[in-house]
């Protein structure tokens, strides 16, 4: 039995049936890391000793009948912008290169209580700013499907770790597509839930009003199961929702008869790769064959999403990142003359180019005299985008489209043209602006063998519609969405 071909829920079931021990599962993952990590570099920190120790503890609890949940004993990887008590949390930045939090994020605590075993912290674009995981201070992560390509970002380390079998599932964060886009590029399942569904307490903020934590995993069943564990009300987060409809696994039903699916014409215009387009439309046909009512419509305002997003997100980021100043924790410049000089040198040396670009952009749009023209206007656009979605969801249960205009770009191709990189977020960011839930599920590959992701967008609180549609699709195509366990570290690991 090859453990690594199992999904998270299959593994937990096997552990429960005593076919596998937790230690065996953890060791299998550690062995895979040993084998492929040097090439892929999914992790910033691997906590080998603690993981093995924790495996024994969890096994004891399972044996004693104290832990019986669907994730008990499953090895998990955590994006490095989620605080983990006693374990380095860098956000992919030199600025936090030595930062060890005194507390764990609520999402991490939920997983630990469910018996998941933390393997390590995954690589990411610095402070989640980027779409390729190339802006990390700790080096690039490579796409396990083909290591000449990027894994996407900013949760690229998490997506790659799942795809490479270096964990059974991972947590990411999604501010403008940072879960869905890497999931799409690496051929795994990813979900950004409705804003407020997962507590942000302990997530190092990029753009507070848009950030949301979610799973990256091997299939739709895992996705629903993990989300069920993550989605709890948290009094420590003012924006945390108190939902009573978080039994997401109840939506794992193979039935879309009568489900109304809208395809926004706006998402199929200029810039969309023909191969991606074909794969998405084919997926829509599959759902139609299964009984869904599929039609095209005009969503509108799509072209305004990118500028509105980069105004709001950078404004919030410019303020959120002020606390990294060399005073209390993290990096401090070794030589300085006085306070002002210490601030300036610490931040100049501690932040990378993309982070500085966004801090400057955000500071500018909040400046006196520009606030109304940029920030307030962007907030008005955000409200209009939400309204456009409200109108669409009056007609449709699910909106279907691509996650990204293309498949993964080659390493080193993106950073030289930030504007082009920002435009790559066009299909994902309006979802964050409107606070909606959305999923990325694999729907085929292009000629280069790179995965294509299908995006399903739901109305607020309607994750179940997405799960039902995704589950039905997954069953229908029996797509190979499992981890690429054939990956052998030489870049020819496609299955």
């Amino acid at each position: 039995m090859d453990l690594l071909t199992m999904t998270a829920t299959q593994l937990a079931a096997a552990i429960k049936e005593k076919k596998v021990t937790v230690s065996e599962a953890v060791q299998a993952v550690l062995a895979q890391i040993e084998k492929t990590e040097a090439l892929y570099h999914c992790y910033i920190t691997v906590d080998k000793e603690k993981a093995l120790e924790r495996a024994k503890e969890v096994q004891k609890k399972i044996d004693a009948g104290e832990l019986s949940g669907p994730l008990a004993g499953v090895p998990v990887a955590i994006k490095d912008n989620l605080c983990t008590e006693g374990l380095l949390t860098t956000c992919g930045s030199k600025m936090l290169g030595n930062f060890v939090p005194a507390y764990s994020a609520q999402a991490v605590k939920n997983l630990e209580e469910a018996g998941a075993v933390l393997i390590g912290k995954t690589n990411m674009d610095e402070f989640a700013m980027g779409s390729t995981t190339e802006t990390s201070f700790f080096g690039v992560t490579k796409n396990p499907v083909n290591p000449e390509y990027v894994p996407g970002g900013s949760s690229g380390g998490s997506a790659a770790a799942v795809a490479a079998g270096e964990c059974f599932f991972a947590l990411g964060s999604d501010t403008g597509g940072s879960i869905r886009q890497p999931a799409s590029f690496c051929g795994v399942v990813g979900m950004k839930p409705t804003y407020g569904t997962v507590s942000r307490y302990g997530l190092v903020a990029y753009a507070s009003s848009l950030d949301q934590i979610g799973p990256l995993c091997k299939d739709v069943t895992d996705c629903a199961t993990i989300l069920e564990v993550l989605a709890t009300h948290d009094e420590k987060d003012s924006t945390s929702l108190n939902r009573n409809d978080t039994d997401f696994t109840a939506a794992l039903v193979e039935d879309v008869k009568g489900m109304k699916i809208g395809i926004p014409k706006d998402y199929f215009g200029e810039g969309l790769d023909p191969e991606v387009k074909a794969a998405i439309l084919k997926a829509a046909e599959v759902l139609q064959e299964k009984g869904a009512i599929v039609e095209e419509f005009d969503l509108s305002l799509t072209e305004y999403a990118v500028p509105a997003y980069y105004t709001i997100a950078t404004a919030e980021a410019s303020s959120n990142l002020e606390r990294f100043d060399g005073v209390k924790y993290g990096y401090r410049t070794p030589d300085y003359l006085g306070l002002h000089n210490m601030y300036k040198k610490t931040r100049s040396e501690g932040f990378g180019a993309e982070v500085k670009r966004r801090i400057m952009l955000g500071s500018f749009v909040l400046s006196s005299g520009y606030y109304d023209a940029y920030y307030l206007k962007a907030l008005r656009v955000k409200a209009l985008i939400k309204k456009a979605f409200d109108e669409a969801f009056a007609k449709y249960d699910v909106i279907l489209g691509p996650v990204a205009p293309t498949t993964a770009p080659k390493l080193g191709e993106s950073l030289s043209d930030p504007l082009k990189m920002y435009l790559g977020d066009i299909y994902t960011i309006s979802v964050n602006l409107a606070g909606l839930p959305a999923m990325s599920i694999p729907c085929g590959k292009d000629e280069k063998g790179l995965p294509i992701g299908l995006q399903l967008i739901g109305d607020c609180y309607k994750e179940k519609n997405l799960i039902r549609a995704a589950y039905t699709y997954e069953r229908a195509v029996a797509a190979d969405v499992c981890a690429n366990t054939e990956a052998d570290g030489n870049g020819k690991g496609e299955v």
Partner: protein, 476 residues
């Protein structure tokens, strides 16, 4: 002809609220404590931490707004004020700029020239900063975040005041209202009430406002009055000399009796205010408002009127007692325990005020309980102790809030009124003071006072003076 000038003054008053925990986390607001012991990830700005509004802070802010006739903002928000300084762990202060919780209020003040309304532009909630401790060497500074996140309200007045007298009356008025609400102890010296004074001058009769300066570091009413006088004179002198007043923030040095430039308008930072995305808007519903209205206390004016109706005590006493919510509560609770109002008032007006003055304390600092004051009055009423002993017991009670009954019992301070027990002492006093005895017998009635005193002294004050007097007369 000498020009007449008018001083125009507006105030920004910061008041530290009395909530037990901080505005955005559960840490204690208690004063003191070793540095950085009243802290958590939230109030030290750790990565990933999030603020959650303390409901008590909102209740106090709304209560103060209602007491100052403000409109309560039904949809209010918090904004971030961005600036870098190490006492501010996130490098932004969470405050309210765009939609403050209270607006358009007023309070009435009374000065020698009569009554006047002072407008309140707004009241907003915000967090306090930590405290910097600069090493004497000048090589480094330390920061203590115990104060970081302590809740404040800032009360911004309209530029409606024209003199130091009006400013003091306004501050006294605010302090009284807020103390009555229990929302703060409002101590200027300790910084739980801080006032920044905006001052400009203009020629009398002029409609437009002159260029203003903002004065900081005013730690007492006296400093405020002196600073207003000093700044008015400085600005008039500038204008008379044909120079311009520069818009700036100045720091008052009360020791030197003058102010110094802190920063000019040109140096003013762009705070890049924007709504804090980590906090949700504050919605004030009718029910919440009604509950706070129901809980509003009886304010001073109503209390004064009621005291006049209900208690037979002088107007002067009423003025002093109601001048402090704490003292008024103490008075009412002691009376409710059965003590005669006039006697309670006497203890407060005479001994309490004396001890407060001697110890440099405010009425808010009184620590003895109504129960113990009532017990002390009962002991004197029943003549169990005499007035000299009572004063001694009261001092002890003032200092440590001891139980007077137990204390009198334990220290053996009960008045001796038993003739048998006193007779031998009186006889001894007569024997030891032949001169006074002779004076008395020669018709000097006053000499008996000396003999009573000697007996009391021998009895360490515990004798019943009436019985002693009677015995002396009998034996002489």
């Amino acid at each position: 002809m000498v020009k007449q000038y008018e001083t125009v003054i507006g105030l920004e008053v910061h008041v530290e609220l009395a909530s037990k925990t901080k505005i955005f986390c559960g840490c204690s607001t208690a004063f003191g404590g070793a540095p950085n012991t009243h802290t958590c990830p939230v109030c030290t700005g750790m990565p990933g931490s999030l603020p959650v509004l303390n409901k008590q802070v909102l209740e106090y802010a709304v209560a103060v707004g209602l007491a100052t006739n403000c409109e309560i903002t039904r949809f209010s928000k918090f904004d971030r004020k961005n600036y870098f300084y190490p006492d501010n762990p996130q490098n932004y202060q969470i405050s309210q700029l765009y939609l403050p919780i209270c607006r358009n209020g007023s309070v009435e003040i009374e000065t020698e020239s009569g009554k006047k309304q002072i407008g309140i532009h707004e009241i907003h909630m915000e967090e306090d900063a930590g405290k910097m401790i600069h090493d004497e060497s000048g090589n480094f500074s330390l920061v203590d975040y115990n104060r970081s996140g302590v809740p404040l309200i800032e009360i911004v007045s309209e530029p409606d005041m024209r003199s130091a007298e009006e400013v003091i009356a306004y501050l006294e008025r605010l302090r009284m209202l807020i103390q009555y609400l229990g929302a703060s102890d409002c101590k200027l010296q300790e910084g739980s009430m801080r006032a920044d004074v905006n001052i400009s001058v203009r020629e009398a009769g002029c409609e437009t406002l002159g260029t203003r300066t903002e004065m900081k570091n005013l730690n007492s009413f006296r400093a405020i009055a002196r600073a207003i006088e000093g700044e008015t004179a400085r600005q008039i002198a500038l204008i008379e000399a044909g120079e311009k007043v520069i818009q700036e923030t100045r720091r008052w040095d009360d020791g030197k009796g003058e102010s110094f430039t802190m920063r000019s308008k040109e140096d003013a930072q762009d705070y890049r205010y924007f709504p804090d995305p980590d906090l949700v808007p504050v919605l004030v519903f009718e029910k919440f408002l009604a509950e706070i209205k129901d809980r509003q206390p009886e304010f001073r004016e109503a209390k004064m009127e009621r005291y006049q109706r209900e208690f037979d005590i002088p107007a002067y006493d009423i003025d002093i007692i109601t001048g402090s919510k704490h003292m008024a509560d103490l008075f009412e609770e002691t009376v409710a325990l059965g003590a005669q109002p006039k006697k309670v008032s006497n203890w407060l007006m005479v001994e309490t005020l004396r001890l407060l003055k001697e110890n440099g304390m405010d009425p808010e600092d009184i620590r003895f309980s109504p129960k113990h004051l009532a017990a002390l009055i009962k002991l004197t009423d029943s003549k169990a102790i005499n007035s000299t002993v009572a004063k001694e017991v009261f001092e002890k009670m003032f200092a440590e809030d001891i139980d007077p009954e137990k204390y009198v019992e334990d220290a053996g301070l009960k008045t001796v009124s038993d003739e048998g027990a006193l007779r031998s002492v009186v006889e001894e006093v007569i024997a030891n003071n032949p001169q006074s005895v002779e004076d008395y017998r020669n018709g000097k009635e006053k000499a008996i006072g000396f003999l009573v005193g000697q007996t009391m002294k021998a009895m360490k004050g515990k004798a019943d003076p009436a019985v002693v007097n009677q015995l002396l007369k009998e034996l002489l």
